[in-house]
Symmetry: C2
Subunit: 188 residues, 2 copies
């Protein structure tokens, strides 16, 4: 059943509120309309495009990370709760892929996840100890990888961080990272 | 006991023959002489410096890799026996380290090991499946990381590769990588 424009826009506002990472493509599919229609809907509703929404979230959230410089995180940090959870976005561009097949190189996905795991640590110097990772399916040029990191265990000088990276709703990478504190810098 | 110059140079030739990865620093320490002395010895003996020795080995060995382009390996490949073993060298420079503490970023060591593991595969398209890794000790700006990769198991479309990365004789990183073939490109 096709919704009226008004109904669709009402659902749309809710959908973007619940999940700001929705792409226009995903929403268009869901409502059986063209991507162009969704873009017009967003324009009328004053909802910025995905990249802008993410930038806005990133500006709000990123100021208290201390374990690395913001430009050292691979990808754009979208959300970050120290010692809890974080989200980052990396769009796969030509410098990230193998020349021959345009598939993202393993260490790029690793770097996105690992740097996000490090960013979660509320310590001046945090390094990775062990990691166990799985490349679930190849990621291609142009795909947008959203990494979701969650702290599974937090100890005094050690965090266990689980990271799942998704393209649209599909898991493409997952990893468990053990991050440890170097030196005794608590409270500094 | 201090050796005569002649004795030292004789030992030196042998030492470099047995282990072309010896640095001048290591050899100087071993023979209790200055690095300058070792450099002069090498000059007289016609033994090129480490980087040149490695380049020379790399030129001999690297022509039959097909899973990636030579410039896609992170580090310089020194030796490579497809489906058997490989060695690469990466000198940690400023673009590899955290600004704040000059420690090499985890994904750089990962990239060196992972790209070497991929290079061992004699397939047109090879990707990483699972990996389990350990950062044994922090690596600092200027250190030379030598990664040694060995195939532990080789199946029709899957390799298990163990990688140990050392600085001087000390292990700094180790990892197990599962590399798999994509598509049926055998013999092409």
């Amino acid at each position: 059943m096709r919704l009226t424009k008004k109904e669709r826009q009402s659902y749309l506002s809710q959908a973007f509120e619940q999940n700001p990472f929705l792409t226009d493509e995903e929403v268009a599919k869901k409502f059986h309309v063209s991507i162009q229609t969704i873009r017009l809907d967003r324009l009328e509703l004053g909802i910025p495009e995905l990249r802008e929404r993410m930038k806005h979230m990133a500006e709000k959230k990123f100021d208290h990370v201390q374990s690395l410089s913001p430009n050292e995180v691979i990808g754009d940090v979208i959300d970050l709760q120290l010692h809890k959870s974080g989200i980052s976005l990396l769009e796969i561009s030509t410098e990230h892929v193998f020349e021959r097949n345009q598939i993202a190189r393993g260490h790029i996905l690793f770097a996105q996840a690992n740097s996000l795991a490090i960013a979660l640590a509320d310590w001046k110097v945090a390094l990775t100890g062990n990691a166990s990772i799985r490349f679930v399916r190849p990621v291609r040029l142009g795909e947008k990888c959203i990494a979701f990191a969650n702290v599974a265990e937090a100890h005094d000088s050690r965090l266990h961080v689980g990271v799942q990276t998704k393209v649209q709703e599909e898991i493409v990478f997952q990893g468990d990272f053990e991050v440890y504190r170097v030196g005794d810098d608590k409270g500094n």
